[in-house]
């Protein structure tokens, strides 16, 4: 302040003028573009070439299809590896490395696969039936400790192999160079789905033996891309696999996987044309996309096959009482949840997501918001609710602890439960925990009283939800997936019967009954199935969200990305771009 007083009037004027200029420049700064910055060139047919840039919020540990089991690694694994089976764009099982769908023996126990001709690993070596067997045996070896084990326990001779009593798994037989047969102990309608999981992808033995524990950092497979470079924590670059067996594929020469890029900055980079495709948005960015007419053709919102809910520990009071659980299940105002979450979630009151066998919109015992029923169930549980001041909030009769994920989203769900259960006299105390702690502790019996939890499909079959989340077999001393610790022999029997049932219609009815029992007993208050919005640049063509694999970018093509021209301008180009020049380009 003093310094201005001491300077002459002229300087002060100039100072003010420059401030004014600054304000003008500020006003003249480009507001964020109202639509995509670059359009496609309009090619009618798929073109080869270009680089696709995508991202994820976290860091990736490695790309080993046999041990990695998360969305993030999977995004790379699907570019690098393949298995005998895969899904088409509609979610049907199709042969991938196999020539055709396998021959199944009449007793439903033996599956015989024949490999396509001329398939090579990215190293150039041809793939043989022996590689298929070696890969599965590696994945199922106790030393590898694959989380995929549970999906293959039905293989004949697996126990002997894992105990070290046999060199090989008796149920996997190499018949000739290109033929391999699998034999099961009992019929299993989920086996083919298991064979389409990344756990059953084929890897070259010599590469695994060369790198040992480091192999996840040096992936070699049969997929459309190979790993070109890896800047830890920053980005992974994939280059076209020259030995790929599908002629002309993949279309883009390179794919760049930007790591540790959280959703807000990722969205800004997307608007700026530096990211080609995004798959998660903050609420504000989501609303921006939904409201912008210019972006409307370049996003699609699609239901995820998943299930979310408030799981209550059936072994711990007060949730060992079915009436309390039912009261909770009827006190959750699912429509309000959906509104608070910007309708990015679809309310549900049953354990199977829409689209799966056994899902019925009018399933008996479907949980729904009804305070009348909720309060009646509280009374049946022995809690009289009194509301002397008549504000709809009765005096608290119970206090429970609820675990939520760290971060704003987990907190919102916690607060939603809190405000819903207040209306039936239950006080909820929230405990935010990190994801690893949540996984570890909620898998132990009698530890976590209640929690917000969810499950996303491994394969599109009801067994992947009901068997895993509610079968008593999924209760262990550690790592239980049945985090409500719900046991019901009647349900177990139904699920075991359904798993082997070969008649699809009968199987569907069995799962309907099972789902209805779970909804009735309410180990979870089922709350919603989520939706996912993918947005891409106009020059990204033929992208369709895959029904099974999240963020699967192997099939799309790039339509003469104009931005590559802009990038060549270099530093000056960036400055011009900032001032708004590129938008005036044709």
């Amino acid at each position: 302040m003093c310094s201005i007083r001491r300077t002459d009037a002229g300087l002060a004027k100039r100072l003010r003028a420059s401030l004014l200029l600054g304000a003008l420049v500020g006003a003249g700064c480009p507001s964020p573009p109202q639509g995509p910055r670059w359009q496609g060139a309009g090619s009618p047919t798929p073109r080869r070439g270009g680089t696709l840039v995508f991202h994820h919020e976290s860091d990736v540990r490695g790309f080993d299809p046999h041990t990695s089991f998360d969305e993030l690694s999977n995004m790379g694994i699907k570019l690098l590896f393949e298995g005998l089976l895969d899904y088409d764009a509609d979610g049907h099982l199709v042969p991938r490395l196999a020539e055709a769908m396998p021959e199944v023996s009449d007793d439903g126990l033996t599956y015989t696969f024949r490999l396509r001709e001329g398939i090579r690993f990215a190293s150039g070596r041809p793939v043989t039936a022996e590689d298929v067997r070696w890969s599965l045996e590696r994945m199922l070896h106790p030393r590898v400790g694959s989380p995929g084990l549970t999906f293959y326990t039905n293989l004949e001779g697996l126990d002997a192999y894992r105990d070290g009593r046999a060199q090989h798994i008796a149920g996997i037989r190499v018949i000739d160079e290109r033929t391999v047969a699998f034999r099961l102990r009992a019929p299993d309608q989920t086996f083919l789905y298991a064979m389409a999981m990344t756990f059953a992808n084929v890897v070259p033995r010599e590469n695994v033996e060369r790198w040992g524990a480091e192999v996840a950092r040096h992936p070699v497979g049969t997929g459309p891309y190979v790993l070109e470079s890896w800047e830890p924590g920053v980005r992974v670059v994939f280059r076209r696999n020259e030995h790929y067996w599908r002629p002309g594929r993949p279309y883009p020469d390179r794919q760049i996987f930007e790591l540790n890029l959280s959703r807000e900055p990722a969205f800004l980079r997307f608007l700026n044309g530096e990211l080609d495709i995004i798959h998660r948005q903050s609420p504000a960015d989501y609303l921006y996309l939904k409201r912008s007419p210019a972006w409307r053709p370049y996003w699609v919102q699609r239901p995820s096959i998943d299930l979310w809910g408030y799981a209550m520990n059936c072994e711990l009071p007060p949730f060992d009482n079915v009436h309390v659980r039912r009261a909770v299940a009827h006190a959750i105002d699912r429509q309000r949840w959906a509104r608070t979450r910007l309708y990015r979630i679809r309310p549900t009151g049953q354990p199977l997501p829409p689209g799966l066998l056994g899902y019925r919109p009018d399933l008996p015992h479907t949980q729904r918001f009804d305070l009348e029923i909720a309060r009646r169930e509280m009374a049946l549980a022995g809690y009289t609710l009194r509301d002397p001041d008549g504000d709809g909030i009765p005096e608290p009769v119970l206090t429970v602890e609820m675990w939520i994920g760290e971060g704003p989203t987990g907190q919102v769900y916690g607060e939603l439960v809190q405000s819903d259960l207040r209306r039936i006299g239950i006080t909820v105390q929230l405990k935010p925990v990190s994801f690893p702690v949540y996984l570890r502790e909620s898998g132990k019996p009698r530890t976590v009283q209640s929690l917000m939890t969810g499950w996303s499909q491994d394969f599109p079959d009801p067994a992947d939800f009901l068997d895993i989340l509610f079968h008593s077999r999924a209760i262990h001393d550690h790592d239980s997936e049945n985090r409500a610790f719900y046991r019901n022999p009647e349900l177990d029997a139904l699920l075991d019967e359904a798993r082997v049932e070969r008649d699809r219609e009968r199987r569907g009815r069995l799962y309907e009954r099972a789902a209805s029992i779970v909804a009735r007993d309410a180990p979870w208050a089922f709350t919603f199935n989520s939706m996912k919005l993918d947005a891409w640049q106009p020059y990204v063509r033929d992208y369709r969200p895959h029904p099974v694999w999240d963020n699967y970018y192997a099939e799309l093509w790039l339509d003469l990305p104009r931005r590559r021209i802009a990038r060549q301008v270099g530093g000056g180009g960036t400055a011009l771009a900032w001032l708004g020049w590129p938008w005036s380009l044709p």
């Binding site: 609420p283 939904k290 608070t340 919102v412 405000s419 405990k431 935010p432």
Partner: protein, 289 residues
């Protein structure tokens, strides 16, 4: 204990006056404000989110029969203004609690170390070295995890228990200085017991730096409380605090900036105010520095 000329010096110190005004304002918001809150800060209002999009309603939305949401709603439909008032109170409460604890510890340990000397002094000073060499936030997070109870007083305890070190050093230095003054020597020669010496002669002399440092410490504590709450280690939801409101508001920055700007403005005002006041106090009380 206070120089009569001090108040005149204080009044002439523009920064100190601004600081005092800001501190007064923030305290008014925190202690009187909640009484005027239009809504229950935890109530998820039916009309708080837009029925079409689900987005929080903008500032100034009027709810028929309920009142006006002057700052709009947050993402679960709670009145932002009411939360801001309640949140300021919580943040200040934590900051004051932690500061009181830190000042008490700092004064006690500093004076004892300075007066006793010898091994007591060495142990105290080396523990301070040790504590100061640890990154504050990291230790606070670790402690919070170990105690594992996201409550107000735990937060105070952790933050206060970690931030008394600077004050203790200053108090020790001051005590060393005062201890050798003639009248203290004289009192000792007359056989005054140590407790009396400390309370009557050493403490009053050393209290000024405690006042100054304590004031700036409040500002630091506000920042730490915000940081802890921002990391999800603060108070238990749905209790609001400035940091936790910032935490949940950040995803709405581009859509509803007030959810970030309002708590930020209060944090800035509080920190700025306490810092200015602290510096003003130092100028006034200890013109030699």
């Amino acid at each position: 204990m206070m120089d009569p000329r001090a108040w005149r010096r204080f009044r002439r110190n523009r920064g100190a006056i601004v600081g005092l005004a800001l501190v007064g304002l923030v305290n008014a918001v925190a202690w009187i404000g909640p009484a005027f809150a239009p809504f229950d800060p935890s109530e998820q209002l039916e009309g708080g989110t837009d029925p079409q999009t689900g987005a929080p309603v903008p500032p100034g939305t009027h709810l028929a029969g309920r009142g006006t949401l002057w700052l709009g709603a947050d993402e679960v439909g709670r009145d932002e203004l009411s939360r801001l008032l309640a949140g300021t109170r919580i943040s200040l409460l934590v900051a004051f609690g932690a500061t009181l604890l830190a000042v008490a510890l700092g004064v006690l340990i500093g004076i004892l170390a300075g007066y006793a000397g010898g091994p007591t002094d060495t142990v105290a000073m080396r523990s301070i070295d040790l504590l100061q060499s640890l990154p504050f936030l990291l230790v606070a997070i670790a402690l919070n995890r170990v105690i594992d109870r996201p409550d107000l007083w735990v937060l105070c305890l952790v933050m206060g228990g970690l931030s008394w070190t600077t004050l203790a050093r200053v108090m020790r230095a001051k005590t060393l200085q005062v201890r050798e003054l003639e009248y203290v020597q004289a009192a000792r020669a007359l056989g005054a017991p140590a407790a009396r010496l400390l309370l009557r002669h050493v403490l009053p002399n050393a209290i000024q730096p405690a006042l100054v440092l304590g004031t700036t410490l409040v500002a630091q504590m506000i920042i730490f409380e915000s940081a802890m709450s921002y990391l999800g280690l603060g108070v238990r939801p749905p209790t609001p605090s400035l940091g936790s409101m910032l935490h949940s508001g950040q995803q709405w920055l581009t859509h509803q900036p007030v959810l970030v700007l309002a708590p930020s403005a209060l944090i800035v005002a509080t920190v700025f105010g306490f810092n200015l006041l602290g510096e003003g106090l130092r100028d006034v009380l200890d013109p030699k520095d």
